[in-house]
Symmetry: C2
Subunit: 156 residues, 2 copies
């Protein structure tokens, strides 16, 4: 059931990588109502492409979705290729998105425990493609990556 | 010492109100280095003006500042007219902004405790102008306000 969302999230991450940007993508999938689940928002990190410190994968997907009614968020799942940082976890909590599916949390461990402590279902897929893409990027452009998570670059 | 930042934050909130938008403003003030403190980013909620669910006061100020080095955030204070929601608190944590000055927390109580638990200094000014502007807006446009915090409108 999680294939659609993660495929869209990964496609966005790959697009960002191909543009020279941070390869993290996300998709918001609505599964309320009577129809099939459908993507209501998708996006990718745009630190490089738009000079933006707030467009991460998840926030970009929310921005792409536009203004939604509370019930849409409450019947949706957020898919993201990488474990969500505090800002993106906070956005998930703000809109009471009940479920988050994470491609991988090897390259970065975000606020999974905070999400769980607030009742959000968190699923980690440990996806090989997500892991490989992010690892490659961190090797290639560590400065941009550390800037993205507010860290000074590690010299080790 | 907090006058500059809160004046800029309030001016942004008032501008948003005058445009028909959610009247929450913010300013990021850098106080590192040898010079006087200076505003490096400012903005206001743009749910109405830009159809955006992620441009709150604080995130708009971060976006306006653009890409900053980790040390700039770590020597800055975030000023916001209203207690920060989980997304904005998460953004403050992401960039390790060490201090947050809040105009008021009567109309909305955000994630002040989470911020404090992570070592952020949180100051609440209980500012009369901030309180009055927000209260007026909530009376006038409750639907937009509750949407902004992911809540269903309260019928009481
Ligand atoms: Ca259904
Ligand atoms: Ca100084
Ligand atoms: Zn994030
Ligand atoms: Zn906020």
């Amino acid at each position: 059931m999680d294939r659609l969302g993660m495929e869209v999230a990964y496609a966005n991450a790959k697009k960002s990588y191909d543009e020279g940007g941070v390869p993290i993508g996300a998709a918001l999938v609505y599964h309320g109502g009577d129809g099939e689940p459908r993507v209501v928002g998708e996006g990718h990190n745009a630190r490089v492409q738009k000079n933006s410190p707030i467009l991460h994968g998840e926030t970009a997907a929310l921005e792409n979705a536009g203004r939604l009614k509370p019930d849409v968020y409450r019947n949706s799942t957020m898919y993201t290729t990488l474990s969500p940082c505090s800002m993106c976890a906070g956005a998930i909590l703000l809109y009471k998105i009940p479920r988050v599916v994470i491609g991988e949390n090897v390259n970065f461990v975000g606020e999974e425990e905070l999400l769980r402590s607030r009742g959000v279902e968190v699923v980690v897929l440990n996806d090989e493609e997500c892991k490989a893409l992010m690892a490659q990027y961190i090797r290639e452009k560590p400065e941009d990556w550390y800037e993205d998570i507010g860290e000074k670059i590690r010299k080790d």
